[in-house]
């Protein structure tokens, strides 16, 4: 088995970490650092052992499975998933013998996640909710756009200017952010550019 903590990769990482500490104005002595690295290694080993030992229990845990679904779908929706879609995928992943999962069940599980500080946020949009699982700041403006987009699955700049009474610069800045974060895709084959959110787009299969 490959021995961790040795080899070129480990040395490179160590040098990088040393450099980072130096940048922060903290000088660690060589052997202090070596000791820290060793402790980290040991800790990581224990954690992996724990995870392997309790793999089945962990997999049954609703919080874990919510994180799993969010991670699995984030490449499609940028880390914003609709509450119903999340529930449907959880039910599907459980198989026939399981009990049904209600939206409330999902909601409660997410609340627990928030307490753990996992960076999960719930955003109300119209009659439903979006669950955000990627770290990063979504401002009030971003949330407002999401609420606006929930109706048709997309927004246009004109929507923001007329319905929200925003100024041009604010609308452009907000939409650029959402495109940059991978939350929105652009469609240039309509009368005006449309910003679509995969998070709101109906999905037909659970294929990745």
């Amino acid at each position: 088995m490959h021995r961790r903590g040795h080899g070129i990769g480990a040395i490179k990482n160590k040098n990088l970490a040393q450099a980072r500490y130096k940048d922060k104005g903290t000088l660690l002595a060589e052997d202090q650092f070596a000791q820290m690295a060793k402790q980290m290694e040991t800790f990581r080993g224990h954690l992996e052992e724990f995870a392997a030992k309790h793999k089945d229990d962990i997999k049954k845990d609703p919080q874990f499975r919510i994180i799993e679904v969010c991670l699995a779908t984030s490449h499609r929706n940028g880390g914003l998933i609709g509450l119903e879609e999340l529930r449907d995928r959880l039910v599907a992943s459980r198989g026939k013998r399981s009990q049904d999962i209600s939206l409330d069940d999902v909601f409660c599980a997410i609340k627990k996640l928030k307490v753990l500080g996992n960076g999960f946020t719930v955003i109300p949009v119209g009659k439903t909710y979006l669950v955000q699982s990627v770290p990063g700041e979504l401002s009030m403006d971003h949330t407002t756009v999401l609420q606006q987009a929930q109706e048709k699955g997309y927004v246009t700049k004109t929507d923001l200017l007329t319905k929200l009474k925003w100024e041009e610069e604010r609308a452009v800045r907000t939409m650029n952010f959402m495109v940059k974060e991978g939350l929105a895709w652009i469609d240039d084959q309509a009368k005006e550019r449309q910003y679509w959110f995969p998070s709101f787009f109906p999905y037909n299969t659970f294929a990745a």
């Binding site: 495109v179 991978g182 084959q189 309509a190 679509w196 787009f201």
Partner: protein
């Protein structure tokens, strides 16, 4: 649409209007092109077709979803084809004008492996057969490579040759292959 495409399952992206606009965000564009590549390959696999005319395919349902009134523009199609070329799935018949190409939804290496595995399973190593027998004979009926076009069969066998698993030969005026 032709009958063989009746049960073709389109990915969710095909109904998603922005899929037909090349995305400015590079991460999103990367995902988009990957999805297009996968769609092109599975579409042509369903049609069992390798030979592609760019103009014709641009206007086909593949790049043109009439239901949502969206069409991938020519530079988008070429971006997808460039990606396929990089991955070894596409070859231009006319590199300069780029109007005709061959799209191999299964690479020659993959075909070669499939054929060799089959040969081994039938204990047909150290035997000789003609190319025609191999791809069109009764024995290979039901195998995926049955009916494989000759140019692609040859490419596949050439990859086996490079691995020392076969030799393309000529006997009695027939093109054939010996497996080791």
């Amino acid at each position: 649409m032709h009958r063989e495409m009746e049960d073709f399952s389109w990915p969710w992206q095909y109904q998603f209007p922005p899929f037909f606009t090349i995305q400015p965000n590079s991460d999103t564009r990367k995902k988009q092109l990957e999805a297009w590549c996968a769609l092109v390959l599975s579409y042509l696999k369903q049609k069992k077709s390798h030979s592609v005319d760019v103009t014709e395919i641009q206007n086909s349902p593949l790049f043109n979803n009439k239901e949502i009134n969206r069409k991938l523009p020519p530079d988008g199609v070429y971006a997808v084809f460039e990606e396929l070329q990089k991955k070894g799935h596409l070859e231009w018949k006319d590199q300069k004008t780029r109007k005709q190409c061959l799209i191999m939804w299964r690479t020659p290496e993959e075909w070669g492996k499939m054929i060799y595995d089959w040969i081994t399973s039938k204990s047909m190593t150290n035997t000789v057969c003609t190319l025609y027998e191999l791809s069109n004979g009764d024995d290979s009926e039901g195998q995926e490579f049955h009916g494989l076009e000759k140019w692609l069969l040859l490419r596949a066998l050439q990859t086996l040759e490079q691995q020392g698993k076969a030799e393309i030969i000529n006997f009695d005026g027939n093109e054939g292959v010996k497996f080791f």
